[in-house]
C-alpha cells in the first residue's frame, strides 16, 4: 500500500486545486466585484411606483378662497385603460368592443397599445372623457372586457379658451431638454409639465411632489410588500395679477377695434388689414400685468388634447404667428410713442430745454448734408416754433429730427469717447434692447440701433453710422424695435415718477393649505435719471395729446376731468406692410399719479389715433365702468 499513499496524495492535490479555484473565484465575486452585484440585486427587487400629484390651479387677481376665479384648473376625465397582459386570447375582440363603446377607431387603439412608452405591466389609456354609461357598461360585463378598466384621472382645463392663452400657456409631456434641466428636481421621463406661459414659468410651483411608493417585487413581478410610501403633494396654486374681467374686455375691445379698422383705407387706398395686435394693461406702480392680450390666439386645449389638421396648420403658419405673444415675444418699430422718451434724452443731454421752443419745419435736412436726404413731417407746412409739449401734442417729427442731428454730432466729434452715443445709452436706461424680466418665457429684447451695430450691418449701413440713424431713432422710426411691454414699462416710469418696475403676471403663490407661500413682483428699484418735474412735464404734454392732439378724436366725450388720460399715438412704417398703429397711455383719477399704463398696438392698423387709441378708450371704459361712456368714436386722421 506504500504506493497507494503517494497516489492518494495526487488525488488530494487535485482536490486542493479545485478548492483554490473556487475560493479565488468567490474572492473575486464577493469581495472585489461585490458592489456592482449588490446594486443589481437592489435594482431588480425594488420597484418604484409614482403617483402624479394634482397640478396647482391658476387663479385670477380677484380670486378669493371663498370665491375662487379659476382660469386654469383640473378637470376629471374618465379614462378607458387596457392592460395588454390580461387580454388573453380574445385581444382583438376586446379591442373591437372597446372601439364600439367609446367611438375610438380600432386602428388608433391598436397603435396606442403598441406605443413603446408604456410598460407591458401598465394599464394603457386608450380613450378619455368617456361617459358614465361607458363606465357602467364595462364594469357590468367584465367577461366581455377582460383587462379593461375605467379610471378617473385629472386633465388640465382652460375655461378662458383663447382669451389669455399666451399668458397661461399649456402643458405637455416633458421633453429631453427639460428632463436634462429638471432631473435634479425629481422629474421623470413621463411627467406632464408646463410648456409655455405661466404653466412653464411657474412649473416648479404648479407641479407638486409625486407620491413615491417603493414596492418589493419578486422575479415574477408579484408585489410582496410596500417598502415605503409617500402621498403626492398637490402643486401650489398661482394667483395672477391678471384680471379675468379686464382681460376679456381688452380682448373684446381689441378684436372689435381691429374689425372696425378693416373698414378704413390706407394712404394707397387699400383697406387696412389690421390682422394682429396686442393690448397690455399694467399697474403703473407695481409692474403687475392686469391684462395682456395678443391676437391672433389659440386654444391651449389644442396642445393638451391634440389638434386637428386644420388647427395644426393654423398654429404652424408663421404668417399668422398665433403662437407668438405679441406683447413680449415680437418687437416692433414704436413710431411716435417713442418721442416722450427720446425727447427726455435730448433734454438730459442738453440739446433741448423744457422751456425752449423749436421750429417745426415741413421738411428737415441734416445740416451740411448735400445728398438731398430729407426727413418730412406728416404735413409739409411749417408749423412754426413750438415747445416740446406742443411738439408731442402735434407729434411734430422735425423738431425731434433736429435733436437727432445733435446726437449725431456728439458721436461724430468723438466716436471713440466714453459716452459717444448718448442717445442709445439713455434709451437703454429705460430698459430697451433687453428683456424686461417678466415672469413669462421666450421674451425678446428688441433693438436700439447704434454705431457699433451699424458697422456690422454692411448692407444697411455701407458707410457706417450716419445722421439718419440718430434722426430716425429720435422719432421711433428706422431700425428701432421695442416690445409693447417694454414701452408699457417705460410709460409706467413716466407715470410713477421714474421707477422701472419688473413686470409680472403672477402676484402670489398659494400653498395647498391656502396660505400665501410667496409674493411675486414689486421690484421697482431701478430708476430712470429724470427729475419729477421733467416727468410731470411729459405727463402734462401727453395729457394735451388726448385733450387737443392726435388722440383728441378717440377720447371725444370722455369725462377726462374725472379720469385723466395721457398718451401718445404712434404710426410706424413697416417694410412691405401697412403702418403699425400704436397708442401708449396712462390713466387714472389722479393726474399726478396715474393708476394704469395701457399700450395698444395693432399690426397694419393704420394711424395710432385711428385704431389703437379708440381700442384703448374701450379698455379704459371697462377699467372705470362708472365713469366711461362706452362710446366708440370713428376717427379718421391724417396726422401721426
Amino acid at each position: 500500500m506504500e504506493k497507494a499513499t503517494s497516489r492518494l496524495r495526487v488525488l488530494a492535490l487535485l482536490v486542493v486545486v479545485m478548492f483554490l479555484a473556487l475560493s479565488t473565484r468567490l474572492w473575486f465575486l464577493q469581495v472585489l466585484a461585490s458592489q456592482g452585484f449588490n446594486k443589481e440585486a437592489h435594482a431588480q427587487s425594488i420597484r418604484t411606483v409614482y403617483t402624479d400629484p394634482l397640478r396647482g390651479q391658476i387663479l385670477d387677481a380677484t380670486s378669493t378662497p371663498t370665491h375662487p376665479v379659476v382660469v386654469v384648473g383640473n378637470q376629471e376625465s374618465r379614462e378607458v385603460r387596457i392592460m395588454p397582459s390580461e387580454l388573453g386570447d380574445q385581444g382583438e375582440a376586446v379591442v373591437l368592443r372597446v372601439s364600439q363603446i367609446t367611438g375610438v377607431p380600432v386602428k388608433e387603439i391598436a397603435k396606442t397599445l403598441q406605443d413603446p412608452k408604456y410598460l407591458p405591466t401598465q394599464a394603457i389609456p386608450v380613450a378619455e372623457f368617456v361617459s358614465k354609461k361607458v363606465k357602467f357598461d364595462i364594469a357590468e360585463h367584465p367577461e366581455q372586457f377582460p383587462g379593461v378598466s375605467v379610471q378617473s384621472t385629472f386633465v388640465r382645463s382652460y375655461p378662458l379658451g383663447t382669451t389669455a392663452a399666451h399668458v397661461l400657456g399649456y402643458t405637455g409631456l416633458i421633453d429631453s431638454t427639460q428632463l436634462d434641466d429638471w432631473k435634479k428636481l425629481g422629474y421623470g421621463p413621463n411627467d406632464i409639465v408646463g410648456k409655455n406661459g405661466v404653466e412653464l414659468s411657474y412649473e416648479q410651483y404648479l407641479h407638486g411632489q409625486q407620491g413615491v411608493t417603493r414596492l418589493l417585487v419578486n422575479s415574477d413581478g408579484d408585489v410582496l410588500s410596500t417598502v415605503s410610501s409617500t402621498k403626492p403633494t398637490p402643486g401650489d396654486d398661482v394667483q395672477l395679477s391678471l384680471n379675468d374681467h379686464i382681460q376679456r374686455l381688452a380682448q373684446k375691445a381689441l378684436l372689435a377695434g381691429m374689425q372696425h379698422a378693416r373698414s378704413y383705407h390706407d394712404q394707397n387706398g387699400d383697406l387696412l388689414r389690421a390682422d394682429a395686435g396686442t393690448v397690455v394693461v399694467m399697474d403703473a406702480h407695481t409692474g403687475g400685468i392686469v391684462a395682456m392680450v395678443s391676437t391672433p390666439s389659440y386654444n391651449p386645449l389644442w396642445y393638451e388634447r391634440g389638434a386637428t389638421a386644420a388647427q395644426s396648420k393654423y398654429l404652424n403658419n408663421g404668417n399668422i404667428g398665433a403662437v407668438n405673444d405679441r406683447a413680449i415675444q415680437l418687437a416692433y418699430t414704436p413710431g411716435s410713442t417713442f418721442k416722450p422718451i427720446t425727447g427726455l434724452a435730448a433734454v438730459k443731454e442738453g440739446y433741448a430745454s423744457l422751456s425752449g421752443s423749436y421750429d417745426c419745419v415741413g421738411k428737415y435736412t441734416h445740416p451740411g448734408d448735400t445728398s438731398g436726404a430729407q426727413f418730412v413731417n406728416w404735413t409739409s407746412v411749417d408749423l412754426g416754433y413750438m415747445s416740446i409739449a406742443t411738439a408731442l401734442e402735434k407729434s411734430c417729427d422735425t423738431v425731434f429730427d433736429a435733436f437727432g442731428s445733435d446726437f449725431y454730432y456728439t458721436w461724430a466729434n468723438n466716436p471713440l469717447g466714453a459716452n459717444a452715443d448718448p442717445l442709445q445709452g439713455d434709451l437703454r436706461q429705460w430698459g430697451f434692447e433687453q428683456p424686461t424680466g417678466i415672469d413669462l418665457p421666450f421674451e425678446t429684447g428688441g433693438l436700439i440701433p447704434d454705431p457699433a451695430w451699424a458697422s456690422d450691418q454692411k448692407t444697411l449701413f455701407p458707410y457706417g453710422w450716419v445722421p439718419g440713424g440718430d434722426i430716425l431713432t429720435m422719432i421711433g422710426s428706422g431700425y428701432v424695435q421695442v416690445t409693447p411691454l417694454q414701452l408699457a414699462r417705460a410709460y409706467a416710469a413716466i407715470a410713477n415718477g421714474g421707477h422701472l418696475c419688473t413686470p409680472h403676471v403672477v402676484d402670489q403663490i398659494i400653498g395647498p393649505d391656502g396660505s400665501v407661500a410667496k409674493k411675486i413682483g414689486g421690484d421697482c428699484d431701478q430708476t430712470v435719471p429724470y427729475t419729477a418735474d421733467q416727468l410731470s412735464y411729459i405727463r402734462g404734454a401727453l395729457g394735451s395729446v388726448v385733450t387737443g392732439g392726435t388722440a383728441q378724436c378717440a377720447f371725444a366725450g370722455f369725462p377726462l376731468s374725472r379720469v385723466m388720460v395721457a398718451g401718445k399715438t404712434g404710426t410706424a412704417e413697416r417694410a412691405n406692410k401697412q403702418d403699425t398703429s400704436w397708442f401708449a397711455s396712462m390713466v387714472g383719477p389722479n393726474p399726478d399719479k396715474p393708476d394704469y399704463v395701457i399700450v395698444t398696438m395693432v399690426e397694419q392698423g393704420g394711424f395710432g389715433g385711428q385704431t389703437a387709441a379708440p381700442i384703448t378708450r374701450q379698455v379704459i371704459d371697462g377699467l372705470y365702468p362708472k365713469i366711461g361712456d362706452a362710446s366708440t368714436p370713428s376717427c379718421v386722421t391724417t396726422d401721426r
Binding site: 488525488l11 465575486l29 456592482g36 452585484f37 449588490n38
Partner: protein, 382 residues
C-alpha cells in the same frame, strides 16, 4: 499468547470502537447547514403561496432521518460483502437506469430537461444517484483483483467498459452532471489504482476527443449545449440561460464579505434564482453568509473529502482504499461542479450539492456514501 490479552486485543478491534466520529460530525454539520439553507430558499415562496413555510425543510429533515438509517445499515454491514456482490449491484443498478427510461415506470420532467426518476409514493427516487455508488463498488472490486503492481491496459479496458455503460445511459438521461461525476470517479479511482501516467494522458486525450465529437454531432440537445457553454461566452446564449447564471452571480456577488444575514437575502427571498433550493442552493449561502460563510462551507466539504482520503489510506485492503477514494472523488467533483456552476466557472449542469441540495435521492446516496466510509474505517483492523 495470553488468552486474556487476545480477548482484549479482539475487543480493541471491534468495529464499533472505531467509528470515525469526526466524519459523523462533519456530516451532521452539513445537514444542519443544508436544512437552514433549504428553509431560507423556500419559506418565503411557500408562505406567499399559503403553504407551511417549513414544508420543504421538514421533508428534507425526514429524508435525512431516513439517510441516517441508511448510514447505520451500511456501516453495520462489512463492506467486503459488497465486493462479493459487486456484480449483482452493478447489474441491478444498470437495470434501474434502463427501467427509469421506460414510460409508465420512470417519470421525467415534461420539458425533458431533468433527471429521470421513479415515483415512490411522495418520493422521487433518481437511480442515477445510486449508480455512482454502484459503480464505485464495482470498479473497486475490479481494481482490487489486479495482481500486477499497475493496472494493465486490459484492466483499464475492463474498467472503462464497465463505466461506459452507466455513463452512456446517464448521458442519454439526459444528465450531464452525473456523467461528469462518473467520469471523475473513474479517473480518481484509476489514479489511486496506480495507472501509468502515459495511460492517463491517453485517456484524457480520448476523453477530450470524445467531448468534441459529442458537441459536433447532435448527441446533446440544444438546451444542453447552451447551458454548457454559458459560462464561457455569456453573450451567445439565450436569455433564459443567461438569466439563470446572472441571477446566481448577483446573489453570490451581492453577499459581499459577510453576507446579508440569514433570511435577509434579497435574491433568495424574492425567488430570483431558479432552482434555488436544489442545484443552486449555494447561492443562498453566498448571499446570506457572504464570502466568509461560503469559504466556511467549502471548508466543511474539504474536511469531508480529507476524511474520505484518510479512510482510503487507512483501509485494511485495496478494495476499501479504492471505494473510499472513489467516494472522495465523488464528493469532490460534485462539490466542485456544483459550486463552480453557481459562481460561473463551470458549465451549468444539473448536479446536486451533497447534503445541501433539496432532493431525497441525493441526500440518501450521500448518507450511503458516508455509511460505506464508516464501514471501511470501522473495519480497518479486522
Amino acid at each position: 499468547m495470553d488468552l486474556v490479552a487476545t480477548r482484549t486485543f479482539a475487543q480493541e478491534r471491534r468495529p464499533i470502537r472505531h467509528v470515525d466520529w469526526f466524519l459523523l460530525l462533519i456530516t451532521l454539520a452539513l445537514c444542519v447547514v443544508g436544512l437552514l439553507l433549504v428553509y431560507s430558499a423556500t419559506s418565503q415562496t411557500l408562505r406567499q403561496g399559503g403553504f407551511d413555510p417549513f414544508d420543504r425543510a421538514n421533508k428534507q429533515a425526514i429524508t435525512m432521518v431516513l439517510g441516517v438509517f441508511v448510514l447505520l445499515l451500511l456501516a453495520a454491514v462489512d463492506y467486503r460483502f459488497l465486493k462479493i456482490y459487486a456484480g449483482f449491484i452493478y447489474i441491478a443498478s444498470m437495470a434501474s437506469l434502463l427501467l427509469v427510461r421506460l414510460p409508465g415506470i420512470g417519470s421525467t420532467d415534461p420539458t425533458g430537461t431533468a433527471q429521470r426518476w421513479f415515483a415512490v409514493g411522495p418520493f422521487q427516487i433518481t437511480p442515477s444517484e445510486f449508480t455512482k455508488l454502484a459503480l464505485i463498488i464495482t470498479l473497486g472490486a475490479v481494481l482490487a483483483n489486479i495482481r500486477t503492481p499497475e493496472p494493465t491496459l486490459r484492466d483499464i479496458g475492463k474498467v472503462l467498459l464497465l463505466a461506459a455503460i452507466p455513463l452512456g445511459l446517464v448521458f442519454l438521461g439526459p444528465d450531464i452532471g452525473t456523467s461528469i461525476a462518473i467520469t471523475a470517479i473513474v479517473v480518481g479511482m484509476l489514479i489511486v489504482a496506480g495507472t501509468k501516467l502515459r495511460h492517463l494522458i491517453v485517456l484524457c486525450l480520448v476523453g477530450i476527443i470524445g467531448i468534441v465529437l459529442v458537441f459536433q454531432t447532435n448527441l446533446i440537445k440544444d438546451f444542453q449545449r447552451e447551458r454548457l457553454t454559458a459560462f464561457i461566452n455569456s453573450q451567445s446564449v439565450s436569455a433564459d440561460v443567461r438569466y439563470n447564471l446572472d441571477q446566481s452571480l448577483i446573489a453570490v456577488g451581492s453577499g459581499g464579505l459577510l453576507g446579508k444575514g440569514y433570511l435577509h437575502g434579497i435574491q433568495t427571498n424574492l425567488d430570483y434564482v431558479p432552482e434555488q433550493h436544489t442545484d443552486f442552493i449555494f447561492t443562498v449561502a453566498g448571499e446570506e453568509f457572504g464570502f466568509v460563510g461560503a469559504i466556511a462551507l467549502l471548508a466543511l466539504y474539504a474536511l469531508l473529502v480529507w476524511r474520505a482520503i484518510r479512510i482510503a489510506w487507512l483501509a485494511k485492503d485495496p478494495f476499501g482504499t479504492y471505494v473510499a477514494a472513489g467516494i472522495a472523488s465523488m464528493f469532490a467533483i460534485q462539490m466542485f461542479v456544483n459550486v463552480g456552476m453557481v459562481i460561473g466557472i463551470m458549465p451549468i449542469t444539473g448536479i446536486p450539492l451533497p447534503f445541501l441540495s433539496y432532493g431525497g435521492t441525493s441526500i440518501l446516496a450521500s448518507f450511503a456514501a458516508v455509511g460505506l466510509l464508516q464501514s471501511i474505517h470501522m473495519r480497518r483492523f479486522t
